[in-house]
């Protein structure tokens, strides 16, 4: 465990160094700015939550395409309850609404054996229609801007790491060491400082809570009896049943936790990322959460990385299109690393293919000075797609994932 953490720190440092070099070459200062790092974190959180939601569900053996719909329900409840009863109750309502969506999915797939994908897609469609319908009923003029948008929700407080990132503690104004370092514009050191400042400063409490869910999920799923039993329901339900594990209960628990996390992700979008619910606010983040789950090979740490990658690309395109141009160079570097790895493993064809991609990207980087606007908007999706397809590893999904289970139904 400790070795893994050290390894992770080493890779992260190398990555920051590469970013610093690219910033130096291209002059795209937003690559490593405080603002980008903090926006990247904010944009990652809903995806992390959706991914973790997928993790609990799929580890218990239920494919959850319905994450998107559960996030929609969470976002709606967050906005509606949040503007009336305050943001914290709004978040609670988001969790509950997400779990209600999950309950429908659980009843359909576990109790009635409906195909998991069919049920998930149905939930996505129903959720969108349902919240629009409810909004229309509840709509009143006044604070409302329209039936597709809730009134504003009070914001939840933020805070920072004391000493390092500033902030107020009972009237004491903490120094902001990282920020002052970042403003020195020393190569690499300032880059590292501003990224750290970005992800530790002015944090919403909910962000901290959401990121804490990553180690918590790891702990619950791999260190507790409940987690072992939940995973056994996704790996070998018949064996689990023969050892007295209540497979149905485990699957219900997995799907309900999944819905709660997805709902929280939706609530986060409505209450923290924005300050109201709006239609189409989720915009496919449930699906991207699933992609992060696959990218992370059904492990919490991997989900965090996948979500971080997407969040970073998304933040860049929102803040500065020049940085997106520099991002292409980063992709080239990542691809180069993959090529070396593939050649070492003797996968020559794959290395050649990656090389072609890298060459093409490098040529594009040189040839074009500024990216067309449409392409900039697509950046996070393209970056995610590229890295996912080329970094493809040995994907190991739970063995009984997506297979309807019947008690006593021996193979």
């Amino acid at each position: 465990m400790k070795i893994k953490a050290l390894k992770f720190l080493r890779y992260a440092t190398i990555l920051v160094f590469v970013l610093a070099v690219i910033r130096q070459i291209t002059g795209a200062s937003d690559l490593t700015s405080v603002g980008t790092a903090s926006a990247a974190l904010l944009l990652s959180v809903p995806i992390v939550l959706a991914g973790l939601g997928g993790l609990f569900s799929e580890r218990s053996g239920v494919v959850n395409i319905g994450l998107e719909g559960m996030m929609v329900m969470g976002a709606w409840a967050g906005g509606m309850i949040g503007y009336k009863h305050g943001p914290w109750l709004g978040l609670l309502a988001a969790i509950i609404f997400g779990a209600v969506g999950a309950l429908v999915h659980a009843i359909a797939t576990i109790t009635f054996g409906v195909d998991h994908v069919v049920s998930g897609v149905a939930i996505n469609i129903i959720a969108m229609g349902l919240v629009r319908y409810l909004s229309t009923i509840l709509y009143k003029s006044g604070a409302w801007k329209g039936p597709s948008q809730s009134p504003d929700v009070d914001s939840i407080g933020t805070n920072s790491l004391p000493v390092l990132s500033g902030g107020d503690y009972f009237g004491w104004k903490s120094p902001d060491l990282l920020n002052s370092l970042a403003e020195k514009h020393w190569f690499f050191i300032s880059d590292l400082a501003s990224i750290l400042r970005g992800i530790t400063g002015d944090l919403s409490y909910v962000t901290v809570l959401a990121i804490a869910m990553v180690p918590l999920s790891l702990f619950v799923l791999w260190k507790t009896a409940f987690g072992l039993r939940l995973r056994s329901a996704g790996e070998a339900p018949i064996a689990a049943e023969s050892l007295g594990v209540n497979v149905y209960a485990m699957k219900y628990a997995g799907v309900l936790i999944s819905g709660g996390l997805a709902g929280l992700g939706g609530g986060f979008l409505a209450i923290v990322a924005a300050n109201h619910y709006q239609e189409n606010q989720i915009a496919g983040r449930g699906y991207i959460g699933l992609a992060a789950l696959l990218f992370g090979n059904y492990r919490p740490g991997g989900i965090l990385m996948g979500a971080g990658l997407f969040g970073f690309a998304d933040a860049l395109q929102l803040r500065d299109s020049a940085s997106v141009h520099a991002l292409i160079l980063l992709i080239v570097v990542v691809l180069a690393v993959l090529i070396i790895r593939d050649i070492r493993k003797g996968k020559i064809v794959k290395a050649a293919l990656t090389f072609a991609f890298a060459g093409l990207s490098l040529w594009y980087f040189m040839a074009v000075k500024e990216l067309p606007g449409q392409l900039v908007t697509m950046t996070p999706y393209i970056a995610t797609l590229l890295i996912m397809s080329l970094a493809s590893q040995r994907l190991r999904m739970p063995a009984a994932d997506g297979i309807p289970y019947r008690r006593g139904g021996l193979r």
């Binding site: 702990f219 260190k223 507790t224 009896a225 072992l228 039993r229 995973r231 056994s232 790996e235 070998a236 018949i238 064996a239 689990a240 023969s242 050892l243 007295g244 594990v245 190991r396 739970p398 063995a399 193979r411």
Partner: protein, 501 residues
Amino acid sequence: MSVAVELRHISKRFPGVIANKDVSMSVETGTVHALVGENGAGKSTVMKILYGMQRPDSGEILVNGTTVHFKNPNDAIEASIGMVHQHFMLADNFTVLENVILGSEPQHGITIDFAAARTKVVEMAAQYGLEIDPDVLVEELGVGQRQRVEILKVLYRGARILIFDEPTAVLVPQEVDDLFNALKGLRAQGMAIIFISHKLDEVLRVADDVTVVRAGSTVAEVKSKDVTARQLAELMVGSELPQPSTHGDTRRPEITLALKDVSISTKSGSRDLISHVTFNLHAGEVVGIAGVEGNGQAELVEAIMGLRDYTGEIEFSGANINDLSVAHRRDLGIGLIPEDRQRQAMMMESPLWENRILGHQRGKPVMNGFVLDMKTIMTDTKSIMEEFDVRAPGPQTLAAALSGGNQQKFIVGREMSKAPSLLVASHPTRGVDVGAQGAIWEELRRAREKGMAIVLISADLEELIGMSDRLLVMLRGVITAELDPAKTTPDQLGSAMTGAA
């Protein structure tokens, strides 16, 4: 020595069948007690009753002298009974340790106490001679080691009475030796072991006592040192059972199938899978192919059916069929009963009428021009079911819902329905109950009298000797001997098959 488990007059009936009529046995602590019987004799049902998976209609179970009534396996586990399943119940992506402790994890606060669990499992493994690395993933283990994990699972839950359901079925000889050493270790620790098998030589090697069941009843309880394998076999089979036999010579002058120098080489270019196989088969004749499994019989079948490339010549009714596809060969009148009915002969999740179409999808009676002739298919399926005594509600029944014997009868009926002039029958009665076995033999007998040529492949030596007009022995892909079944005993055939004679 005390009696660990006693079964008294256990009976169990299922709708339409009596699985157990009167089974009694008593197992002493510190012994290995074998329960032997043919497939379908009721061994599994007795053990399911003892393990709480089913409840007896009448009779009594005593564990350590007290009467027990199990509602489910958990009750049996409570009473320190454990079952090592024939089909492993393991999660491949879990470590050995996780598999063993699942469901009864040692707790340390809210976490699993992995350290304590590991110590306990390692100690247990050493104590019983079941050494294994607790932190390796099960998917990386071989079959023998997986079985160790299953045994450890049972021991971990404190079982003192262990049921092994055909444990050697999936093992290679070396692993069988390891398992038997482990069983001896467990016996020395005072465990009572019930060993279910129909492999009599193994039973005599490892068991102290043997209970023989036949047709749902206990017919004998003997000490293994007092009996021979032959005596046990006689007890198991009994005289009331159908015997494989044919009457008279129905051979006709015309040659139905002729193989000349048929060979199949391997891709690697090493020894041929089958090499220069040459024989003629007359109409109305049964030729039995004897051999230890994996000596080229399966490849021979594939060559005759056209499923595999070969060199040499195959003639059917005087015409060379080398260039014909499988479909063509079937259309000419070659039928096949494949060796693995569930994988090669049926769609398990489809109704019987769809299964009836398989292999007959190119013409009457199934097709009417370009469309399926549903009416005829249905009546035809029904008539196959009647004629061949397939016990199922109707043509809409899923194949998976049928017992092995009924599935096999349906397959035989389907192949026979077209009255092929050549039938390749690969293990036609493997794994079917005694009644179905007799019925299938009767069908083959009748077809032979009508002039069908049959290539019979079987691991059942009595079946081969009884049903064949001629026996060919295959060893490492080569026909090494031709024997007259009337003058051959199973022992002689067995040694010919292993190349000893």
